[in-house]
């Protein structure tokens, strides 16, 4: 391998880098990142997750690796592995806090500096996919990720939205961010799309319906699919359980694996 640039040294053996973005908060970026990572691992891939949500890191809880210490090796920080086979690695600021309730009250420059370190100093080793989970917005963290990864090839971004106009409105701005920074949009996912009552099977569109697909059409981006509101999924991420393993028969599982396949196909087609 050609390690001609030391700053991409730790990413030299990472085949694909995918960002998960949304202009809006609480639409399921971290949930999708987690489920996508589990689905890719299920498909035999080696996966890493870089959580750059510095003020509200959710992934450690979602993968049930709450309070791990990050160790140092010659190449840098060793990520936290979620399994004995080391097929799913994670780096998050959650591991660097003494107390999980500590607020990270940082302005932009400090966030930018840590993200720079996360990108260059984590010894990921060999990975098929590195998924980067981001906070909402189009600000310091996003610019830092894009700028620091510029030397490395980024395959593109997955945009997550909920169906309602208030959310798709913010995601339209995120699409502009992708265009301005030259990030390819791998596709749009509509999350929290309809809730099937477990008592009577009536489907309620709590956060409206169809906004994600409409946005994909409007912006000329691929539509990757819908994930329904499913209390089994929200409970799984709450308790750090592997939803993909626990509920392989559910409609939500087939929606997620469909999205994972579409992402793989879009990356392969590039």
């Amino acid at each position: 391998s050609h390690r001609n640039n030391s700053s991409i040294g730790n990413l030299a053996q990472v085949r694909h880098v995918v960002l998960v973005l949304s202009g809006k908060g609480g639409v399921g970026k971290s949930t999708l990142t987690t489920e996508l990572a589990l689905a890719l691992r299920h498909a035999g891939k080696k996966v890493g997750i870089l959580d750059v949500d510095l003020c509200g890191p959710s992934i450690p809880r979602m993968l049930c690796v709450g309070r791990q210490d990050v160790h140092q090796c010659d190449a840098g920080w060793v990520p936290v592995y979620t399994d004995a086979q080391k097929s799913l690695a994670l780096m998050s600021i959650g591991f660097l806090l003494e107390n999980p309730d500590d607020a990270v009250v940082w302005r932009g420059p400090k966030k930018t500096a840590l993200i720079g370190q996360f990108v260059s100093d984590v010894a990921w080793g060999e990975l098929d996919f590195l998924l980067v989970d981001t906070p909402p917005g189009t600000s310091d963290e996003h610019l830092a990720v894009v700028e620091n990864l510029r030397k490395h090839k980024v395959d593109g971004a997955i945009l997550v939205t909920t169906p309602q106009a208030v959310s798709t409105g913010d995601v339209r701005r995120e699409i502009t961010f992708c265009k301005k920074t030259g990030l390819r949009i791998l596709g749009i996912v509509e999350n929290m799309s309809g809730f099937v009552c477990p008592h009577c099977s009536e489907c309620s569109n709590i956060f409206s319906k169809g906004g994600g697909e409409e946005l994909a059409k409007l912006s000329g981006s691929p539509f990757l699919g819908c994930i329904p509101l499913d209390p089994q999924l929200s409970t799984s991420v709450e308790e750090g359980k592997d939803f993909i393993q626990a509920f392989p028969e559910s409609a939500t599982f087939s929606a997620i694996s469909h999205i994972a396949q579409a992402v793989l196909a879009n990356i392969a087609a590039a």
């Binding site: 908060g25 609480g26 940082w106 302005r107 932009g108 917005g137 600000s139 009577c200 929200s234 709450e238």
Partner: protein, 321 residues
Amino acid sequence: MADVPSDAPEHCPGTSSVEAGKTSACQGCPNQRICASGAARTPDPAIEEIKQKMASVKHKILVLSGKGGVGKSTFSAQLVYGLASDTSTEVALLDVDICGPSIPKMMGLEGEQVHQSGSGWSPVYVEDNLAVMSIGFLLSSPDDAVIWRGPKKNGMIKQFLRDVDWGELDYLIVDTPPGTSDEHLSVVQYLSGAGVDGAIIITTPQELSLQDVRKEIGFCRKVKLPIIGVVENMSGFVCPKCKNTSQIFPPTTGGAEKMCSDMQLPLLGQVPLDPRIGKSCDEGRSFLSLEAESPAAAAFSSIIQKIRQYCKDGVEDGSPD
């Protein structure tokens, strides 16, 4: 930490620190002499200007949450609609979510522009007694992204507080983005002279939300911002067909109730999930007046009443000043 310039050397103690200009990190920094002289420690003159401006604003309330998408803007919108339903109460809503402003859409003001007057920027009015300001009014298209780093966002917030012609107000409600970063520090800092009545913290029932909200509470305590109370949103869903309740976002660790009792904070109320809330926000209409009979509207109204009472008691106690 709040005042580290973007091009500062690593381990810069911050320009307003007592250590400014004196630590080993300051060696060789071009600003070392200014910092060491203490000149950089003088507060931003904007804080005093904002204090003057805010002299005509009786109550200032921040709406915060560590977590995104829990309903800060939805709550802020209902709060101002509720407060302004009394036509003798002058209310304003300031949206400091610079990268994801939802308030214009929720208040039915999409496409509106801000006008410049002799006394500053004029806010956009929903009613005679309900004014709104958001960066959304400064953008020319719904696709416009505000790709700004912290300092630019802070500058915008300063302008919103200092240069908007708010007039006489009973309430100024400030809706914030998720997190504990530039926007939050700036609002608190710029309003430090004027004084803030307190913050309302919004959460949803799951631990994934509460763990971020605890950080926000830590932030409030760090910057000495009083907390009026916590609102739990998306608290259970009643199926419109069979009327059974489902916990879509399950309170696996006891929800806001347990957190409030652990952290000794008042729980102002719990608002159920109701598809009509999202719908009225998308349409930019007041859920409170459209669905006044619904359990969610009753929950909002009772919370708003508690907030009114808090502000009233504060005045009677002589605090806040």
